[in-house]
Structure formats: C-alpha cells, structure tokens
C-alpha cells in the first residue's frame, strides 16, 4: 500500500496502481480520453496531465504509478492551460457538427468539450476528407471523426489479439484502419465489436444497434430473442471448448428440455444472429442439440435449487412443455406439485403433435424423468373437466392444456366422410391408431403443422399428397427447410390457393381451388383476397386434412372466462397469468394460441414464478448450474474467419426417410461441431468491457 495525496485528499492505494484510476476510484475526476481501464495506458491525449510536488513540469496521470508520499495536483493553472491546448489541438481535425453526429449525447469528446470549454477559432481547422467506410458488415468507420486516441487499436491488438486495426498514415494524415485498406472481412476481423465499444467518438460505430432495446439486449440479440433468454453465446463457447456438460448446464439454467429443443426449437434466435450479416447465421439449435446429446449430466445433476417443502399443493392441468416446466420450477420452490395429463403420455404437442421422425419419444420421457426425480407427481389418462373443483384439494391450479382441438373451416362439403382435423390425425398417428386416411390426400394449410400432417401421411403410405395454402410461397409460415424436405419426399405444394369447396356426395372426392392474385389484411385484420379469374381447378382426393390452426379443448362449462379462439382469458398475457377464477392460472398455447415449445417453456416459467409468489414465495426461480467463469477476452487471430461457412446437419435421403418414422436429421457431425461453434462472434464478450467514466458521474460535478 502507498499513501498518496491528490488535491489535498489523502488516499491509501495499492503500490503501482495508476494515479488516474486512483483518483477516479476515489471520486476525484481527472479529464481523460485515450485512457481506458481495460487497455494499457498510452498517455497520448494529454488530457489527464497533473503536477507532482517536487517534480518539474507535468506528467500524465494514466502512466504515473502510485508511490508512497506522492503529492499530486490535478487542477493547477499550468495543467489546465495544457489540457485546454491539447483539446484545442485535438479538435482542429475533428468535424464541428456535434448535432448531426450519431454519437451526440454519448460522445466522450463532446463531454470533455463541455467540461474544459476550449477556446476556439485560434487554430487552423481542417477536414480530413476520408470517405466513411460503410461496406463492412456490422461496423461503420468514419475516420473523419477519429481523434486517434488509439483505444480501438489497443482493444483489437492487446485485449482481443485479433490485430486487424492498426495506425496507418497517408499524405501526412494518420488514421486507423486495416492494412492496405482491406475490408474487415478480408482482414480477418472477428467482428467482436470491441472497437466500437471503446471508441469515445462517433468514429467506429455499430451499423445495426436497436436503440429501442436495452443496451445488453441490443448487443447480444440472440439471447434477447430467445423467449427464455438462454445464454446462447456462453454455451456455444463451451461447446467450442468441448465442455458439453457445462454447456448443457448453461442451457438447463433456463429450460428443462434442452434436448427436445435441440431437435425442434423454432430458433428465433438464429433470425437475430449477428453472424448472418457477415455471411450466414449460426446453427444455434443444432449446437444446442449437440451439447444436449453429449451431456452426461455431471455438471447440473443434483445441483440447483430445491427449497424446503412449503406444504402448499399445486395442480398443473396438462403435461405439455408449459405445464411440465411450471411443475418443475414450482417443485423446486418447495411446493407439492401434481400434473394431470389427459393422454397416456406427457409431453403435450411434443408427444402428440410433432411427429416422431422429428422428435423421438424417448427424449421427452427422459426429460420428464428429471422432473419426476425432482418430486413432481404425474398422473396420466386424467382429464380435468372442472378445474375449479381442484381448488378443494389444491392451493393453486395451472391450466396448461395447450391447443388440442383442430379447426375446421366451414366451407362447402366440410362435413363429409374423409375430412379430418390436424390434431386428431397427428394424435392418432402418434398413438399408432387408425387415422382414417385414404390414398390421395389434400392437406389444407401452410404452417409447420400442415407439413407434419403431409409428411406423416406420406410415411403412413398415402400415394399422392397435395398441400395447399392461401399464402404465397414466400409468406408461408412453415420453415423453408420443412417445405423443401417435404417436396423432396414427393409432396406437391400449392401456395396461393383459395379453398372453394370440398367435392363429393357424403364422401370426399376432391377439392376445388382457385388461384390467389393477391392476399392481404385490412386494418381490422380481416383477410382481403383477390382471386384470379377463370383459374378454377380441381384436385382429386379421398381425404382432406384441415391444418389451419388449433384451439384449446375447453368449453364454458369449465367455469373460466374464454376469449378469442377459445383461449383462456388471463389478466395480462405478458405479466399476469391469473384467470377469471381466483387461484387458477393459465399458461402456454391455451392462453395465446399455437406458438412454439420455447414460448410454452417461458410461459411455464413465468407462471411458476407468479404462482410461487401467490403461495407466499419470492417468485425467484433462477438458478446457477454451470460454473461461473469470465470468458477469455483474448480471442486471437483466425484467418478466413468471416468466410467460414455454416455447417449443416447430416440428413438421410428422401428415399430412405419417407416410408418410416425414424429420426432422419442426425445433427451436426463430430468433426464439424467445433468449427461451427467457433464461428460465433461472441457478441457478449463486449459486455465485459468497462464503461467509460465521464465527469457527469462524479458528485462534485453533479448539478444539484
């Protein structure tokens, strides 16, 4: 320890700690610009100059080390004059258009100008005349605004080890850039964003950073996009290092179905992945799958929260992803939880909607087993008709009944023999029961469920399968991958069709269609369809499957208020899952209509938290399962990084997969997984970088 004095304040500080940080940490503001806590001191901007008693001249406090007895003055006329001159000099090459600068209000230089208030008009001003570089993905460079503090160069070289940004000089003008002015991708930039993070001015900026979102969410968009906010960059990093158990534990901190999600998650995270701006997005779902498949449970098993029994009893109606998730976390909060499932197996749509060629059933059983091990009681084949009566036995009830009733459109001929509904068909197929299909099938609908129906029919032996929907090909809601695979399997896809009538006299003989010229919604969300004249045509069929949506299988007799699409009404879909009946909550598809497994899980988590609070708990269901480690910030060089292509999964040929229900997508292979995980930009690393300290943060400067 050393005892030093700054402006008369006596401070005890560690030996060799730099004086600027000693002062800032003690609440004494010294102006600074090139200094950054995470970077080696440079001492080039001269803003932080101070006088040391007994020494001639001035010295930069960022490079001055604490030593016993040091007496420092930060506000003498001499240092203030020099600071002023240094700032004046800095500004001669900086545009004077703060108000049009995108960094306005967040610019450290602007704040320094406000603090120091430099003289102006004495010195020769100049325009550097660099062309702003906007051709790079994610990062913008406007070297006209650069004041050469060198933070980005140090961040890129010392902190990250990527070594792309360097000082360059052209026509006596120094600037920061890549060698020979190469584009970042060609210079092997890793797009970590550290340069933009540390830039004090508007020189290096994010091309796309949603200012509506919280900073952290905008910087790591995948994690924000995931309904359950799974810590995606963190588990991808672990997979890259071959630490699959740790990776699976990270996933399990937010979702209790890592493996099922690895197979069938709707992966909205991938839509937001910043890597897609560089070339292609990350295969986030398949990385998750790899981690879950290689997990031995050594990290998370037996860990996590299990509060003492509270004596409260909760009944969860419905054993799908929402219900099971809620049950699992409620059990961990110490409640006695019973799940009542109407069907013979738990899993909800994971067991009875999603075909087993996409999600093998033993995966659901394994993951549900974890919940039973935690103490969740599961009763199958138990349909609840009157939830209110459950309150006699239970302190709270959660309705997570999903949407198991298919929707039939009231078009001409819909009530004939041979017309079946998506939910019934998929459920019967899953249970190995007779489905009632013939040889020539028409599926009406363009979502993933419609494709599940068509591809299931194919596997059950149907000879000719057509799928028709109202939407144009580009706006079909099914995944592209799903559509392409169905076509490979010989299914005919007819986008932009109206369903005129189902023909037949008591038994289906086919469907009449017309082509759609345009299709949109008016302001009341009513469909406006323009048909193509004279485009009537007919497809022969003996079976028509409606796959145009599904609704909760519930009636008013249950005693709960129902809303649009037969959904269970809750106080506030986002925030309050209480239904019209006291003590009864609702979650999942039953509340907001058919969405995705990951949405259902998040809804279940939220319901668990709310019910826990309702029962007197604190509602905090968060848990730490994976070891908490600081991620390695020195990511190093990686030639060709920006060009590394996305790795795809191993998929069986259409011929070998379309006559059986075996899993056909085998995930990313062992030899590709490390490379795929290594493509991650690690956007979250940026959040480890210290935020700048500006004079407004210091109490002495605060306006009272």
């Amino acid at each position: 320890m050393a005892v030093i004095t700054i402006d008369g304040t006596r401070l005890e500080v560690p030996d060799h700690k730099n004086i600027l940080e000693c002062a800032l940490d003690a609440g004494i503001y010294i102006p600074h610009l090139c200094h950054h806590r995470d970077l080696n001191p440079l001492g080039s901007c001269r803003m932080c100059v101070v006088e040391v008693e007994g020494q001639e001249g001035v010295t930069t406090s960022c490079t001055l080390k604490a030593k016993d007895g040091l007496k420092i003055k930060t506000k003498t006329p001499k240092v203030e004059r020099l600071r002023m001159l240094a700032l004046e000099l800095l500004l001669t090459g900086h545009p004077q258009d703060c108000s049009t600068c995108p960094k306005y209000g967040n610019c450290e230089l602007q704040m320094l100008i406000q603090y120091i208030g430099p003289k102006s008009g004495r010195l020769k001003m100049r325009t550097k005349g660099f062309k702003p570089q906007e051709d790079n993905p994610l990062i913008l460079h406007d070297m006209n605004r650069c004041i050469l503090c060198g933070r980005c160069v140090r961040a890129c070289n010392e902190l990250r080890g990527v070594k792309v940004l360097q000082y360059q000089k052209k026509d006596m003008e120094t600037y920061v850039g890549t060698l020979h002015g190469r584009l970042l991708k060609d210079a092997d930039c890793r797009f970590c964003g550290a340069c933009a993070e540390v830039c004090p001015t508007g020189t290096i900026r994010d091309k796309v950073l949603d200012s509506e979102k919280a900073r952290e969410d905008a910087i790591v968009p995948c994690r924000h996009a995931c309904p359950a906010h799974t810590d995606i960059p963190r588990y991808i990093r672990l997979v890259k290092n071959g630490e699959y158990d740790e990776a699976a534990a990270v996933i399990r901190e937010k979702v209790p179905f890592p493996k099922a999600l690895g197979y069938i998650c709707s992966h909205v995270c991938e839509l937001e992945c910043k890597r897609k701006e560089v070339n292609e997005e990350m295969s986030i779902r398949d990385i998750k799958r790899y981690a879950a498949e290689h997990d031995t449970g050594s990290v998370w098993r037996g860990k996590g929260k299990q509060l003492a029994d509270t004596g409260k009893k909760v009944c969860v109606v419905g054993g799908g992803p929402a219900g099971l998730t809620a049950a699992y976390y409620l059990r961990k909060q110490g409640h006695d939880v019973t799940v009542k499932e109407a069907l013979p197996l738990v899993g909800g749509m994971m067991s009875y909607g999603i075909p087993s060629y996409r999600l093998p059933r033993e995966i659901i059983a394994d993951e549900a087993k974890v919940m039973e091990d935690q103490g969740v009681k599961i009763e199958v084949n138990t349909k609840v008709e009157k939830p209110i009566e459950l309150l006699k036995e239970y302190d709270a009830v959660l309705m997570a009944i999903g949407g198991h009733k298919g929707v039939c459109l009231p078009i001409e001929g819909h009530d004939q023999k041979g017309v079946i509904l998506n939910t019934d068909f998929l459920r019967n197929a899953s249970m190995g029961k007779e489905t009632g299909i013939g040889r020539k099938i028409v599926v009406l609908g363009g979502g993933n469920v419609a494709f599940d129906c068509a591809r299931t029919a194919k596997r059950l032996g149907a000879e000719e399968i057509h799928l028709a929907c109202l939407e144009a090909r580009a706006s079909m809601t099914a995944d592209d991958e799903e559509i392409e695979q169905a076509q490979e399997e010989g299914i005919f896809v007819h986008p932009a069709q109206t369903f005129e009538r189902i023909t037949g006299e008591g038994t289906v003989t086919g469907v009449d269609f017309m082509n759609v010229k345009s299709f949109s919604f008016d302001e009341n969300r009513r469909a406006i369809i323009e048909k193509e004249e004279g485009s009537e045509h007919h497809i022969d069929a003996d079976t028509v499957i409606f796959a145009v949506g599904q609704r909760p299988d519930i009636t008013e007799e249950a005693g709960l208020e129902l809303g649009r699409g037969n959904s269970i009404t809750v106080k506030d879909i986002e925030r309050d899952k209480k239904t019209s009946a006291e003590g009864i909550f609702a979650a999942g598809d039953a509340v907001y209509g058919t969405k995705s497994v990951i949405m259902a899980i998040e809804s279940g988590r939220e319901a668990a938290s709310q019910i826990d609070r309702y029962l007197g708990g604190d509602g905090d269901i968060s848990e730490v399962l994976a070891p908490v480690r600081k991620a390695e910030s020195y990511i190093g060089q990686c030639p060709g990084f920006g060009y590394e292509e996305k790795k795809y999964t191993q998929i069986d040929s259409a011929k070998s997969r379309s006559d059986n229900f075996d899993l056909f997508d085998h995930g990313i292979c062992d030899s590709d997984i490390c490379a795929e995980a290594g493509r991650c930009l690690q956007c979250d690393l940026r959040l480890q970088i210290s935020r700048p300290s500006t004079w407004g943060d210091f109490s002495e400067n605060k306006v009272v």
């Binding site: 060799h16 080696n40 440079l42 001492g43 080039s44 901007c45 001269r46 001249g57 001035v58 020099l82 001159l85 240094a86 000099l89 800095l90 001669t92 090459g93 004495r122 010195l123 020769k124 100049r126 050469l148 060198g150 000082y167 000089k169 006596m172 003008e173 120094t174």
Partner: protein, 400 residues
C-alpha cells in the same frame, strides 16, 4: 578480433564493467552514460516484469539521417555493438531500427544483422512498445564495438554543409570546420544558432546531435528553410500523440502561411505556445525536438519573420520574388469575371474597363487565371510589362 568476439571471452559482468569504465555516453539527444541507461532499463524491466531487450536506432526526431553513413560504412560495428550489450544483459531480443526513408539500407546490413541475430525493423522506435529495452543510438552501438576493441575515442560526427560525414574531436572549434564569415545563421543539429554564438562553441558544445552543420547565408531564407524542416518532421511523425501530430501540423501551417505572405499577427505567439508545450508533451524525441527549429527561428530571426508577415518581403529573395500575376491590358475585355473570384478582393475595375490586380494584396493564389476567357491573366517570374495605373476603357490603353 572484433568487439563482440572479445566480449564473448569475458564474463557478462566484466563486459558491463568495461562499458562503465570507458565512460561511453549515449550519442545523440540523450546525454547520460550508457551505463546509466542500462541501469534504468533494467529497473524498468524488473518493475513491470518485462523482457529486457536491446534496440539501436537513430533518434526518432532525426529526419536527415546523415548519421546513417556510419551504418553504411561499417554495419558489423553497429550490429556487433547491439550483440555485445545483448550478451552482457543475457537477452537475445535485439533489434536495429532503420528509418522508413532509408528502408533500402536493410539489404545492405542484412548479413551483418543475421550474423548477430539482430532483427531489422523499418520505421520509428515505438517507445511505449519497447519498454524494458535499452534504447541506444546506432552510433553508441558502433562505439561499443570500439570499446570492446579498446579503440574507442569520443568524438562528434559532423557533415559540414553537406560534405562527407567526419568524426571530429569534441574540443574542435566550430570555426575550424566551417567558415562563419558569410553566415547569417548556423543550423547546428536540430536548431539555428547565431554565427557569433557559434564562433565561441566547440563541436562538443554545439549539440550537433544529428550530424547536421550548415551555414545559412544572406541568400538563404530562414522561413523557407524552417518550412522544409517542419514538413519533413510531419512526414516522419507516427502521428499517435496529439502534440506531435497536431502541434507539428499547426506549426508548419503557420510557418507556411508566413512564407506565403499570409501570416497573422498572433502566429509568432502561438508558435511559441505550441512549440514550447511540445517539448515535454510527447514520450519520444520526435515531438520533443522537432519544434526547436521553428522556436529558434522565430526567436533569433524575428525581424525576418516580421518582414514576411507585414511587408511581404523576403530579404533573401527566396519567397514572393518568383511570381507576379498581372492582367494583360491589350487582352482584357472588361468582363469582370476575375474580380468575382478573387478571395483577396484585390482586382480593381468596372465593366468595360481594364481590370487591374493590386500586387501588394495579391497572394498569388492564381484562382483568377482559369476564369479569364481571354487568357489575359498571366503568372510570370520574368519582367512585367507596363500596366495601367488608373481606370482605362478597354482598348484605350496605350504604351507611352
């Protein structure tokens, strides 16, 4: 036996002792003993847990590179000196920096460098990156070889008025090397001195740190000379420190404006303010020293600067004299296009009359020349014909 061969027969401590005993000084801008520099570097390396190294170079501020002759002449001496110190300090992190302007020298010294495992680096020494290394002038390194050969003699390398570089004894009088009788100023090292001051100095006292000694006579313009030096420094500066990058730019801009007759009254004071601050506002000699030339110029030759600024006169006849811009009265059609573009508003006349350029206010920017559709505006360094001195109608001007 070369110096390095001798050194390797001794223990490391013996070599260090021999260096200390020789009293060899760091050459160039830093004047402490080499032993002191070694001690400081060792201390720094230990404190910051850095690897010790040896770096030889010119001073960063040296834009002329006349001392490179020593390297050209005998590369083995320089690389040998680096290796001697590397041996004594037990480090193999050895490097020799060659200025970018003399990058072609790398080929010449390649063999010598390879023999001693010295890395050749082109460009300035980055003082921050070389923390923990002993930085020495390449002349010091050459001297070190001499020390180990027991042939070291202290001396100063001087190239007088562009002549061949010679090593002279420190107590040689300046007046013995150059003729001061015609001198207006003496450029000694990085700054000017007056001839009468120079007459009293020995080369050891004259701070000829870069080997440069030049006599400026009445035919040399201090302002123009300074402009060249400042421009060379701007080109050489790495541009990372504010004061070196922006300070030099301002100094050179103001000096150039003065040279062009556009100097403003506060330029001298501002030159002093910025130049003096530069001396202690950068870590390397590039910023610390390169303002000295203009500081000494405005201090010693204030009159000459004032003449440029106030009277647009260059006593040496170097500036201004070269050119005059005039409007040929026989060609002018009296359109007035030239007057419209003149930034100085120094073209008089009115439509249909012959336009005239006020030679005193004109700063020879030449913007009017392309405007004239008659090609009547002429820039010349030769004789100017008789021109009208009052408003004259187009076509009415007669040579009398």
């Amino acid at each position: 036996m070369s110096g390095i061969e001798n050194a390797k027969k001794m223990s490391k401590q013996e070599v260090l002792d021999k260096i200390a005993a020789s009293g060899i000084l760091e050459y160039g801008l830093h004047h402490e003993t080499l032993s002191e520099r070694i001690r400081m570097a060792e201390e720094e390396a230990q404190e910051e847990r850095l690897e010790l190294g040896v770096v030889a170079a010119l001073n960063n501020a040296d834009t002329d590179g006349v001392l490179l002759e020593v390297l050209k002449e005998n590369p083995e001496k320089v690389t040998g000196g680096i290796a001697i110190l590397g041996y004594a300090l037990g480090t193999d992190k050895l490097s020799l920096h060659i200025p970018e302007s003399a990058a072609e020298l790398a080929d010449l010294v390649k063999d010598a460098a390879e023999a001693e495992n010295v890395e050749i680096v082109t460009g300035l020494v980055n003082k921050r990156a070389e923390k923990g290394s002993v930085l020495m002038h390449m002349i010091t390194a050459a001297g070190l070889s001499d020390v180990l050969e027991d042939s070291f003699v202290a001396g100063i390398y001087v190239s007088a008025n562009g002549a061949e570089l010679k090593k002279v004894a420190c107590d040689t009088k300046l007046s013995d090397i150059v003729d001061l009788s015609e001198a207006k100023a003496v450029l000694a090292g990085y700054r000017y001195i007056r001839p009468e001051t120079a007459a009293a100095l020995t080369v050891g006292e004259a701070e000829i740190d870069n080997g440069l000694l030049r006599i400026l006579t009445e035919k040399d313009c201090i302002v123009a000379e300074t402009d060249e030096k400042l421009t060379a420094s701007r080109k050489q500066s790495c541009g990372r420190c504010v004061f070196c990058r922006e300070g030099l730019l301002q100094l050179q801009y103001m000096n150039n404006e003065i040279k062009e007759g556009r100097g403003k009254p506060d330029y001298i004071d501002m030159t002093k303010e910025i130049g003096e601050a530069m001396e202690f506002s950068t870590p390397c000699t590039m910023g610390q020293v390169s303002a000295k030339i203009v500081l000494s110029a405005v201090e010693l030759f204030e009159k000459e600067y004032e003449l440029h600024m106030k009277k647009k006169t260059c006593p040496a006849g170097v500036c201004f004299s070269a050119q005059t811009i005039y409007i040929d009265p026989r060609l002018c059609s009296g359109c007035g296009d030239c007057a419209d573009v003149c930034p100085k508003d120094c073209i008089d006349g009115k439509p249909k009359y012959i336009y005239m350029i006020d030679d005193f206010d004109c700063d020879r920017c030449g913007k009017c020349i392309p405007e004239c559709s008659e090609e009547a505006i002429v820039k010349t360094s030769g004789k100017v014909p008789k021109l009208p001195n009052k408003l004259t109608k187009v076509g009415k001007f007669r040579k009398r």
